[in-house]
Structure formats: C-alpha cells, structure tokens
C-alpha cells in the first residue's frame, strides 16, 4: 500500500461517521453525546491533517486520481475548522427549534467528508463523487426543520436546481473525456488540443456546474431562497464551508488541466465575476430579510473571489484564498450576531428587527458596526485588506476594467451595509432581546470581531500561510 497515512483524515472521519451513526441508533437520547463527539471528530481530523499532510509538497495517490498538496491540506483544515465553528455556535438554535437530533452533526460530518474528497480530487470522477456526497448531505440539511414549509421548500428547490447543475457538469465531464481520453487532470492537461471547439463546450459546461455550486451570477437563483428558508445554522454552514471546497476545485480545475486554454476561460470568469459583484450589490439593496440580504452579499463576495481567479496567476489564487478566509471570519461574526437576536424563544430575521439595537445592546451593535464596515471593505478593517489583495493581483495583470468595476460595486454595496448600520444606530429602538447566550456564541463573536478589527496589525501572517500555494 502506498502512503495510506496521507488519507488518514478522510479515513478517520468516515469511520467516525459510521461509528456515530451506529451509536446514535443504539443509545437513546444520545443527541448531545453525538453532537459533542462530532465536534471532537472535526478537531481530531484537523489535527491529523495538520500532522500527516501539511508538510507534503505534492503526492498523488490511486493512479493519480487523488492529490495531496499544500493547498489541499490548508483548505481541508479551513473546512474542518469552519464546520467546527458552525456546529459549536448553533447548538442553542437547534435546541430552540427542537431539531437538536443525532442526524444533524452526522450530516455535517458527511458533507465535510465530501468536501475533503473534492479538495483532494485530481480526477473528474473523484471530484464528482465528492461533490455528490457533499450535496446530498446539504439537501437534507436544508430541509432539516421539516415542519416549516419554507425549509422544505428550500431543500426541494436546492435539490432540483442542484441536480440540474450536476447534470450539466457530468455532461461537460463526458465531453472532456471524449476528447482527451481521460478523466485525470494531469493526463487531460497533456492531451489537450486547443483547437477542439467541443472541448471548449466541455469546459464551459463544467464551469456552469461549478458556478452554480458557488452561486455566481447568472447561476445564483437558488441561493436567496435556500438561504432564507433553511434553518439559520444551516444557512451559516452554506455561506461558509461549501464555498471553500468549491473554490479549491475551481482553482484546481482551471489551473491544472486547462491552464493553457486560459484565453478560452478567462473571459467567462471575468464575466461571472463582474456579474456577481454588480448583481450582488444591486439586488441586496431592496432586501428586507437579513438572510436574503446575506445571500446577495455572498454572491457579491464570490464575485471578488472569482476576480482573483480570473487573473491566471499564483498571486491571484493566493488573493482569492485570502479573500475567502477573511470572508469566512466576517460571516461567522455576522451570523453570531444574527443568532443573538432571540426573544421569547423566537429568532428574528428581518432587518427592521435590528432597529435601534444600539440603545439596548451597545456591544452587539458595535460588533455589527465593525463587521458591516468590514464587509463593505472600509479600511482599516480586515475586509479592506481582502479586497486590497484581490485588486493588487488583478491590476498586476493589467485588468483595469475588472478592477474599476469591482471597486465601483463596492461603493454600491456600501450603500446597503450602511443601511443596516443606519437602522441599528439611527432608528427608534424596539424591545430588548435575550442576553443569555451560550458561551461559545459569545466567544466566537468576540474573537471574530477582534480579529476583524485588529487584522491590520498583523497582515503578513495570513500571506505567509497562503504564499506557499504554487499551482502554476
């Protein structure tokens, strides 16, 4: 057997899933136990990943269909930690809605497993397998609050549209297989003949499928509905974790087999990026529900991430990864605030419910202020640096149009972030919200806010971490 220890994280998490499932069946009222065990599993898997694979430069396994490299290890660790944080702050929410069941953490674990497979994939089939494992778990998670009409609707919508996009993706895979004779990224890359128009079709179909998964415009239609309908804790998961895996696949897919065809796909990515940035910014203005607003704002943020990918340079890839990391922290902070808007066992999700929050909850409002300005990309907060690196990479490639459109859309986006701040700080106050939040929720909010606020003191660290990523 070759280097099986490199796959230890995946093996460990799969075994844990099965074990926890059996445990859940045989022990009654074990949801708390399973929940904590899942948290532990995520942490242990992260530690294993760090130990076993972090120093590996690049090793391929199983006939080159799985690749372990620095980017894979890093993204896996981010995924695992993201899932851990999502899970740990959502326990109170789940209990309130009486959906604190054993299936919830296990589904999250399986989707994380799917993502880890995606991240390491070096082959279209392996990639597809991981994607489906992840998606199936996510469909169920979206409908997890099944007594609510909206939640079921969200899950169904997600399922139908996602299946459609998976179909497109598979069709693209088959086209590529037909013209290159292989599904392996490395072999495709060496077999490529750029004169084949049908091959371009294949690339585009796969891009469409991937764009759907990360909800880039014009394949974003599912996102607002699904984000709004799903339980908030699941929405939080949706906005953070699957994006990391999808982004990694995006990078690998574009830069390993098709780097030579950059002229063919660059325009598409630029279009996706510009459309997402502008549409996300404009459509968010009219929203009244915070979760819908976050959906549109996440579409916008994906646009910036794609702008980094469109550059075709290592700098661009690194800036995208920095962007998504900072975005995850901001999102975590934002959702922590959202999960605090609870009164009499009911969660509030409308923007108007934030009205005058600063009078009764000054600290919470202050955190929201920092988070929202950071999302808007105002210096000296972390969000500014995220955008700064992206535009630095974009301008390096002389893509001025993309940079200017991107920056103009930050101004439009600033409008709706300011609107929330206006509602929090300038408007009349409403009733008080509960203040007995779980310790984890408070900790995650405090730490992420401080991180956003003080990122400017130590900006080099994050760069050091991602600068080892060399795909090209």
């Amino acid at each position: 057997m070759e280097n099986l220890n490199l796959l230890l994280p995946e093996i460990f998490i799969s075994l844990s899933i099965m074990f926890l499932l059996i445990l859940g069946v045989f022990i009654k009222n074990s949801s708390k136990l399973i929940f904590n065990a899942s948290l532990l599993t995520l942490l242990i898997t992260a530690v294993i990943t760090l130990n076993e694979t972090f120093t590996v430069n690049r090793i391929t396994l199983f006939n080159d269909s799985v690749v372990i490299d620095y980017m894979a290890s890093l993204m896996k660790i981010i995924t695992l930690l993201g899932a851990f944080l999502v899970l740990i702050i959502s326990s109170n929410y789940l209990k309130t809605f009486k959906i604190f069941k054993i299936e919830y953490p296990i589904l999250i674990l399986s989707s994380v497993l799917g993502m880890m497979v995606m991240i390491s994939s070096n082959d279209l089939m392996v990639f597809y397998m991981g994607l489906e494992l992840q998606s199936l778990a996510l469909y169920v998670l979206a409908t997890f609050n099944r007594d609510q009409l909206k939640s079921s609707e969200a899950g169904l919508k997600y399922f139908v549209l996602s299946a459609l996009s998976s179909g497109l993706l598979l069709y693209g895979c088959s086209l590529i297989y037909g013209f290159s004779g292989s599904t392996n990224f490395d072999i495709i890359s060496s077999q490529l003949n750029s004169n084949e128009y049908v091959l371009t079709f294949g690339i585009v179909f796969i891009l469409v499928g991937l764009a759907f998964k990360i909800s880039a415009v014009p394949f974003h239609m599912w996102a607002p509905d699904v984000y709004e309908g799903s339980p908030t804790s699941v929405t939080l998961f949706f906005t953070m974790v699957p994006k990391i895996a999808a982004l990694t696949v995006f990078i690998r897919y574009l830069y390993v087999p098709f780097l030579n065809l950059i002229d063919q796909w660059q325009m598409i990515i630029v279009f996706l990026s510009i459309a997402s940035m502008l549409f996300g910014a404009i459509a968010a203005i009219g929203q009244t529900n915070i979760k819908r607003l976050i959906a549109y704002s996440s579409i916008g943020h994906i646009g910036y991430t794609l702008a980094g990918l469109a550059t075709g340079s290592n700098e661009g890839i690194q800036s995208s990864i920095i962007y998504i990391s900072i975005y995850i922290i901001m999102n975590l902070a934002l959702f922590s605030c959202l999960l605090m808007l609870k009164r009499n066992n009911q969660y509030y999700e409308d923007i108007d419910d934030l009205s005058g929050l600063s009078k009764n909850h000054p600290l919470l409002s202050l955190s929201l202020l920092v988070i929202l300005f950071s999302l808007a990309g105002i210096p000296p907060l972390a969000g500014f640096f995220a955008k700064f690196y992206i535009f630095k990479a974009v301008i390096e490639q002389s893509m001025y149009f993309l940079a200017i459109v991107g920056l103009l859309s930050t101004v439009i986006a600033a409008f709706y972030y300011l609107r929330i701040i206006k509602i929090i700080y300038f408007d009349k106050e409403k009733d008080k919200y509960d203040e007995d939040h779980s310790l984890w929720l408070k900790l995650s909010l405090t730490f992420s806010t401080i991180l956003i606020l003080l990122y400017f003191i130590f900006p080099s660290q994050l760069i050091d971490v991602v600068s080892r990523i060399n795909i090209i």
């Binding site: 000054p362 202020l369 300005f373 105002i378 210096p379 000296p380 500014f384 700064f388 535009f391 630095k392 301008i395 390096e396 001025y400 940079a403 200017i404 920056l407 103009l408 930050t410 101004v411 600033a414 409008f415 300011l418 701040i421 206006k422 700080y425 300038f426 400017f456 900006p459 080099s460 760069i463 050091d464």
Partner: protein, 493 residues
C-alpha cells in the same frame, strides 16, 4: 531609533478612546469622559507643539521618520513630517480639544460615544498628514469616513441620514479610483514609498490617468465644483463639533493631497491639467459665492463659503509659484481656524434659539455684545481683511495667480469682493438691524467655555495676520524644494 513621536501622536487619541470605551456610560453630564478626552487631546497638542519646536526648518527633508515593515516585501509603515505637513498636524491637534470643549451644549445623548468618535477621528487625521506611504495614506484617508459617518448620522439634525449617506458614498466613490491608482503605481514603480517615488519619478505615459484617479478623490474631498454638493448637507446636519472637524481638517486632507501627490508625483500631468483646475476653481469661487449670497441658513452659507475658499486653495496650489503654494497652505490653516470659529459661532446661537435661519435673528448686538465682537472678528477674517490670517493667504494666492495667469487672477479677485459681500451681509442681518424677534431678548452672552474656545481661535487668527513669519518659515524650504523638484522633473521629460 529615537522615540517614535509621530506614532505616539497618532496612537494617543486611540488609546484615550479605548480607555473611554471601558468606562461607564452615564447619561447627562459625563464629566469623566470629558476630562479624559480633553486630557488626551491636550497632551497630544503639547506633543505636537514640541514637535514644531524641535522641527528643523532649514531643510525640506522629511523628519521624525519611522519606518517599519508592515506587510513583508510590500508595504512599510512609514511616517514622517516635512514643513508642509507639520502645520496640518498641529492644526488637527489644536482644533480637536476645542471641539471636545464645545460639546457641552450641542451633544445631548451618548456623550461618551461621541467623544470616542472624535478621538478616533483625530488619530486618523493625524495619520493622513504623517503618512509617507501611499497605502498607509489611503488607509487613514478612508478610515476617517467611519467616525464621521457616525458623527453625522447619530448626533446630527433632522435630515442626518440623508446627509450621512451622501457624505459617505460621495467620498467613497471618489476614493476607490485612487486605490486603483495606488496599486498601479506599485506595479509600475515597485514601491509605494513616497520618498522613493519622489526620487524615482513616474513614467510620463502613465501620469495623466493616475493624476485623474487621484484627482477624483481629492476633488470630492476638497470639495471642488461640481462635486461639492455633499458638503452643505453634511455641514448643516452635523452637530457643531462635527462641522468644525469637517471644515477645519477634513477638507484640508485634499488640499494637502494635491500638494503632496498631484504635484509631487505627477508633475507632467499637473502641468497638463492646470487649466482644468483653474476653470473649476474659478467656477467654484464665483458660483458658490453667489450661491452663498442667497442662503437663508447660516450653516449652509458658511459651508458654501468654505467651497469658495477651497477654490482659492486649489487655484493657489496649481499656480506653481512659491507665493501661490505658500498662500494656499496658509489659507488652509487660516480657513481651518476661521471656519471652525464661524461654525462654533453659529452653534452658540443655535444652542440658545434652536434656529439656524438668518431671518430669525437680527439686532442681537445689544443683547450679546461679546459674541457680536468675536463673530465680527471671524467674519472679517473670512473675507480676508488685512490684519487677519485670511488676508495673508488670499493675498499670496492672488499674487501667485497674477504671476501665472492674469485673467484667472482677475476673476479670482472678483471672488474676494463677493466673499466680502456675503459675509458682511450675513453679519449685518444677524447682528445689526431691528430687534424683531422678541425671544432673542432672553439670549445669554457667551459662557466661559464658549468664550475660551472662541478666544483660542481668535488669537492665532490675529497673530498670524500680523506676523505670519512662523508659518512661512516653516513651509518655505519645503515649498521651495517642491517647486524645484517639480521643474526639474518637467525638464527631465
């Protein structure tokens, strides 16, 4: 390495704000918050005075330089002052404590939070004037939007939301292009360090676009016609202390930026675009003076007069004569003092009568004589009467303009006349005339703190009007070398 005096200037207000953040927020007269913030800002002022004393006026080199790696191999945190920027630093540290004293009456709720916002604002403003790296400059320049947005939005008047949004979005829109330009400069020259860029120079073929990108940001911030419309709104709705900060310091960032970046980095483009600046400045001077004549709101009138005064400043900068640029800097300092004082004067009567309309006053000279005298002094300083600092600035600017372009100078002189017209007319309608509104009789004259603030502003206004040498000596060498460098770069290409 010596004691990092500039960094401590930048950081001290933030430390004070942080301290305030951990004190209890009491309603009503929160004395602790006030004393802490006052203490911080006064200490900061004393440090800046020390800075001025130990500043070497005989050289144009940057002094008190601090240089630390910030982002490995990319950006250095680099600050330093030369003769041009040191005056703005002192202006900032001088105005801020006065603002803090003045909050007595104008800010009713959440005094602690207001003071935190002011102190953080001070940090950012000092940072802008000290920054010697484009990215650091941009960071401070933009960061100032956040506290100012909150100051206008939370503590402002009835239309505060509209004004705060307009202020924020206008300035942000202007600035994003500057960010593109800064990153482009990094890729063109390989550094964002201003001193190195001065030495390297920027390739002529890029200069025009880069100049325009910087211009878009500075023009909004100055504000120049036709993107000045955010200013009257912001001024009218902001609380008095906010208006003072806005008029006295925020507007100066752009003028400073023009001198430091537009002239320093892009001489060829500056030469090309000088007619544009002249045209816009002349329009600003004449048009906004005429608009100011017609205002019925006192704050709005002063806001428009600020636009006109800043028109003089941009005009003076781009004459590229020694007198012109020196005049612009002195005009900015003087405008910082005078407009701050005028807004405070409006604040004084507003706190008593809750009206800013000119028509609701008239004949107050007999009721509040002390106020009337000081108000008169600042009115005269605003229109540039000899013996006040306003005169020195305007006179030098016009002198520079006459050297460069006769027609422009003549048109600008027209603005001086109009300026006298609207300021004197304002004064006449508010202070003299018949006492129609009988409520005015209940007005009380200046209390101790108001008297103190206005005198603090009156003394330098008069002092520098009679004896501008300390200012001119400080800036002379730097301006001289700036112009030399400018001409050298022009001939080189």
């Amino acid at each position: 390495m010596n004691f990092p005096i500039l960094s401590s200037l930048i950081l001290l207000p933030t430390v004070g704000a942080l301290f305030l953040f951990f004190t209890k927020d009491k309603d009503g007269n929160n004395l602790t918050a006030k004393y802490v913030s006052l203490f911080t800002s006064v200490v900061n002022f004393l440090i800046s005075i020390y800075l001025w004393i130990s500043f070497d006026q005989s050289t144009s080199n940057f002094q008190f330089i601090e240089d630390r790696t910030w982002i490995e191999g990319f950006i250095n945190y680099k600050v330093g002052v030369d003769g041009i920027s040191i005056l703005f630093v002192i202006l900032t540290t001088f105005i801020t404590p006065l603002c803090i004293i003045s909050v007595n009456n104008s800010v009713k709720s959440k005094l602690r939070d207001f003071l935190i916002a002011i102190l953080i604002m001070e940090s950012f403003m000092i940072g802008v004037f000290c920054a010697l790296d484009l990215v650091v400059f941009y960071l401070f320049f933009e960061a100032g939007l956040i506290p100012m947005f909150l100051i206008i939005g939370i503590w402002g008047g009835p239309r505060r939301v509209y004004s705060a949004f307009k202020f924020f979005l206008y300035t942000l829109l202007g600035s994003v292009l500057m960010l593109v330009a800064i990153i482009s400069i990094y890729w063109i020259s390989g550094t964002t360090d201003i001193i190195k860029l001065y030495e390297l120079g920027i390739d002529a073929k890029y200069q025009n676009l880069l100049w325009l990108a910087f211009f878009s940001s500075f023009a909004v911030k100055t504000p120049m016609w036709p993107v000045h419309t955010w200013l009257p709104d912001a001024h009218v709705e902001a609380p008095t202390a906010g208006s003072v900060l806005l008029a006295a310091i925020l507007l100066k960032m752009a003028g400073y930026g023009f001198i430091r970046f537009s002239l320093g980095l892009f001489p060829i483009a500056s030469e090309i675009f000088t007619p544009l600046i002249y045209t816009l400045s002349i329009i600003a001077i004449i048009l906004t003076s005429l608009i100011a004549l017609m205002q019925e709101d006192m704050k709005k009138l002063i806001a428009y007069s600020s636009v006109a005064h800043m028109g003089f400043v941009t005009l003076g900068i781009f004459t590229l004569q020694q007198q012109g640029i020196e005049g612009s800097i002195i005009q900015m300092i003087s405008h910082g003092l005078v407009s701050a004082a005028l807004f405070l004067c409006v604040g004084v009567v507003y706190d008593r009568m809750h009206s800013r309309m000119i028509s609701s006053y008239g004949g107050i000279v007999t009721i509040i004589p002390k106020y009337s005298i000081l108000f008169m002094l600042f009115t005269l300083a605003a229109l540039g009467l000899p013996g006040t600092s306003g005169f020195i600035g305007e006179f030098l600017i016009l002198m520079g303009a006459f050297k460069d372009n006769f027609l422009v100078a003549v048109l600008a002189s027209l603005g001086v006349i109009l300026g006298a017209a609207y300021m004197l007319w304002l004064y006449k309608r508010v202070v003299f005339g018949k006492l129609i509104n009988s409520d005015l009789k209940k007005m009380i004259d200046l209390d101790r703190s108001e008297y103190f603030i206005l005198s603090c502003l009156a003394i330098p206004t008069l002092f520098f009007g009679f004896y501008p040498d300390p200012l001119i000596n400080t800036i002379e060498v730097s301006v001289n070398d700036l112009i030399d460098m400018y001409n050298l770069n022009l001939t080189k290409n």
